[in-house]
Amino acid sequence: MREPSMGIEPSEGKKGRSFIEEVQERSGENIRLCYQCLKCTAGCPTAPYMDFNPNAIVRMIQWGLKQEVLESKAIWLCVSCEACGTRCPNDIDIGLLMDTLREMSLDEGYQAREKGIVTLHNAFMESIRRGGRVHEATMMVEYKLRSGDYWTDLVSGVKLFMKGKFPLLPRRIKGMNSIREIYRKAQKKVDKGG
């Protein structure tokens, strides 16, 4: 017989806030409502590439499996298309939940299993910080430099460039002061610790 691979966290070991309470507080979603109908997973375009399906992530939060959830690939593979949250009969916004889990994963210093995706997220946010909107060319350069992955998607990149999808010069928006203010406030929040 196969050895049981995991045990559910015993409630005896609970100290302070439990994982589910933390997630509920940060996301504002009532995760206990989930009755595992699997509609979220059924409609998820990235579920086939995930290590845990969206419904399993919800369930693992209920069980208090913090490390496994925050280290999972699934939270990074979510593309926030919101098909799940739109369809959920218990009105749990799973896209938003995934976002919360990504934040928590970074805050708690977990190593993301999908490094490239974190790098892309950072390059994206940096690009917006600079110009108020994404400038694809500099964002891609930054991503390539940070990830060290120079060759992937090169062909499609060239094609997009030839079609003029990569404007060479960035265009700044008018309200740059507001953007800076948003970033400052967000950073303050992060420094405070979530």
Binding site: I8, A56, R59
Partner: protein, 665 residues
């Protein structure tokens, strides 16, 4: 000559979807004595019945065949319609072309159509020989025997007694209340069982129309609907209840201690004991299998303790005869013996208990005073695993059916556990969650949301002791993950099975049971509280697993069915019974022996056998066993049956001749 009308029902698409009803109506219409043949979408509907009545009037019919569903569905309907036009109801016959034809030949319209016509032709043969019969009448005793004093039996008794009928309520235990007496709070309203039961018990105790017979069993039943003769055995309690004041001194002094059945082994009882915890002025009984007076013949402590001199070691069983018109079987349920499921460790591991034991723990009058404590060391448990479908929904090994109450009571258990034991965490293994009644789903979802219940979808594979923990191995199939829980206690939601001794009782009552021992009803939808044996009625879990809500509803339904039976002055019975040709009968007496209804007896003076028409159910056993063909069944005489068979044989001959012609032989 007969003037017969044939009416072919479409039954929506049930018949017409397979059988070419128009063609059948045309072909049958060509038969010489069929003067009227037509089809209609729903013959049993009002316009359908009017159609038949109109044809009787206009065409002067003296025989009617309705080709439709099984006679058990609508024979009565059409016979009534025929009677309303002044015809004898027994010249109306049903040709079953639904269950016997369209439903079973759905892919073959051509042959189904041929077969439908054949069935009608054969019934026409029968009808041609039918006699116009008169309904039999017999006297009716308007008293009721209710077997079982749980919530079902109590409800039926109170309903009937309030309607003015005398009720004899027989309970085999020394207290009424049944399983409900053992429960704590009940879902979904969390009413205390005592609050549900208390007022009802007061009602039956003081009711002038109800005679409660405690510690009694049905010994023998003779007779038939309207007139059953019942012999009831009052088991010897070895205590004279007339003298006993229920002071409890005898119980207190008794030195013999055995596990209490009522407390599911969580507490001991004495050899002289009351079934329920004291406090309900329940009278005690002596268990002679445990009492040292009976085992060693030396102890008389209880006798000495009794100031009323109520203890009587020589008391014997007493017998009572009662005549009743109807019998209600409300015998309830027991739990599946969980020792049989080795992998769950029940019986070996002390901290594996069943749901009823958990109910006792939750009950303020229970063995722990309402606290949740492990049986092994009395500690308050933290991790508690609940296993649903224990022995239910397991067709290969145990019971194939759903026990219906476990999903809800497990959710209730988990909820109450959280309330009573702070810091406890319930884990619930389930296959499906079935919350099919009013307010149930909301109860469950609220419990999950508010009480942090953890539901794991999958069957537990193994439960074993490790140190002072009970290890539970299972899998959560929603996440495909193996799960191991180091639990403090495991509660099994055990399958409901019919109560012990039901087969015996069913045999005495001539009631039928299914292969699990649940009493069968006459029709699952149309006659759900009637047994196929006339005069027997069902209520509660003896008929199948159900919750309190459904049990009470069924018990009241049963009471109202009996009231409508009793609303007549005499009982009328179908005259389709056996009769004897006195010229042929040799008086051998075989029929007397084979008759299951005691409807056959010897006429000693004439030396032949007789039929007691009121008792005969028309089963045909005597007819099949009569060596001289002296017995016949009214309107199913041998000549009728043979002619019916001939129709099919002729058709087969014709069919094979046609086939030969087609193939050029």
């Amino acid at each position: 000559m007969k003037k017969i009308g044939v009416f072919i029902c479409h039954c929506g698409v049930n018949i017409a979807g397979t059988v070419d009803v128009k063609r059948v109506a045309r072909e049958i219409g060509e038969i010489e004595d069929v003067v009227h043949s037509e089809d209609y979408i729903y013959m049993c509907s009002d316009p359908g019945q009017l159609l038949i009545r109109k044809a009787i009037r206009e065409d002067g019919l003296n025989g009617v065949v309705v080709a439709c569903c099984s006679p058990s569905m609508h024979e009565v309907t059409f016979r009534k319609a025929v009677k309303a036009e002044g015809l004898n109801p027994y010249v109306c016959e049903i040709a079953n072309i639904r269950e016997h034809c369209s439903w079973v030949h759905q892919r073959d319209t051509e042959r189904a159509t041929q077969k439908a016509a054949e069935i009608i032709r054969s019934v026409l043969e029968k009808l041609r020989q039918n006699e116009a019969l008169e309904t039999l009448t017999m006297p009716l005793t308007k008293r009721v025997l209710v077997v079982g004093g749980g919530i079902a039996g109590i409800t039926t008794s109170v309903d009937l007694a309030d309607a003015g009928y005398e009720v004899i309520l027989v309970e085999r235990r020394p207290s009424v209340g049944g399983k409900l007496l053992q429960l704590s709070q009940t879902f979904p309203s969390l009413d205390d069982s005592r609050c549900l039961l208390g007022p009802k018990r007061v009602e039956i105790r003081g009711h002038p129309k109800i005679k409660v017979m405690l510690y009694c069993e049905v010994e023998e039943v003779k007779g038939f609907v309207g007139n059953f003769d019942v012999r009831i055995r009052a088991k010897s309690a070895y205590v004279d209840w007339e003298k006993c004041t229920a002071c409890g001194q005898c119980v207190e002094k008794c030195p013999v201690k055995v596990p209490s059945e009522f407390e599911r082994g969580l507490k001991v009882r004495k050899a002289i004991y009351t079934w329920a915890p004291p406090g309900d002025s329940a009278k005690p009984v002596i268990d002679p299998g445990q009492c040292s007076h009976f085992l060693d013949d030396d102890c008389a402590i209880c006798q000495e303790a009794c100031s009323e001199k109520a203890i009587d070691y020589h008391q014997e069983d007493r017998y009572f005869e009662e005549r009743v018109g109807a019998i209600v079987v409300a015998t309830g349920y027991d739990l599946f013996p969980m020792e049989m499921i080795g992998e769950y460790g029940y019986g070996r591991i002390l901290d594996v208990i069943d749901g009823l034991a958990f109910e006792r723990m939750l009950s303020p009058s229970g063995p722990t005073g309402g606290e949740i404590r492990r049986p092994s060391d009395g500690r308050i448990p933290r991790e508690v695993v609940f296993i649903q479908c224990a022995a239910s929904r397991d067709p290969e090994r145990y019971m194939p059916y759903c026990s219906r109450v476990c999903c809800m009571y497990t959710a209730k258990h988990a909820k109450l556990l959280k309330r009573k034991a702070s810091g406890a965490q319930p884990y619930i293994f389930f296959m499906d969650i079935r919350t099919d009644s009013k307010g149930y789903e909301q109860f469950l979802q609220r419990a999950i949301e508010e009480e942090e219940l953890i539901y794991l979808r999958g069957r537990v594979a193994r439960v074993f002791q490790e140190g002072d923990k009970v290890m539970v191995w299972g899998e959560d199939t929603l996440t495909n993950r193996k799960v191991e829980i180091a639990a403090d206690m495991v509660v099994l939601a055990t399958a409901i099975v019919p109560s012990q001794g039901i087969q015996d009782l069913a045999a005495k009552l001539r009631a039928t049971t299914d292969r699990h021992g649940f009493l069968t009803e006459a029709h699952i939808k149309l006659y759900p509280v009637e047994s196929p044996t006339k005069g027997l009625f069902l209520a509660g879990c003896g008929q199948g697993p159900k919750d309190i809500t459904d049990t009470v509803a069924q018990a009241s339904a049963t009471a109202s069915k009996i009231q409508s039976l009793f609303s007549q002055d005499v009982l009328s019975q179908d005259p389709l019974v056996a009769f004897v040709d006195p010229e042929i009968c040799s008086g051998c007496g075989i029929c007397v022996q084979v008759c299951p209804y005691e409807a056959r007896e010897m006429d000693e003076y004439r030396g032949i056998s007789r039929v007691h028409e009121a008792l005969c159910q028309g089963c045909g056993a005597c007819i099949a066993s009569c060596p001289n063909n002296a017995c016949e069944l009214r309107n199913s005489k041998a000549v009728q049956v043979f002619r019916m068979i001939e129709v099919f044989e002729d058709q087969q001959k014709r069919g094979s001749a046609d086939e030969r012609a087609v193939h050029g032989h």
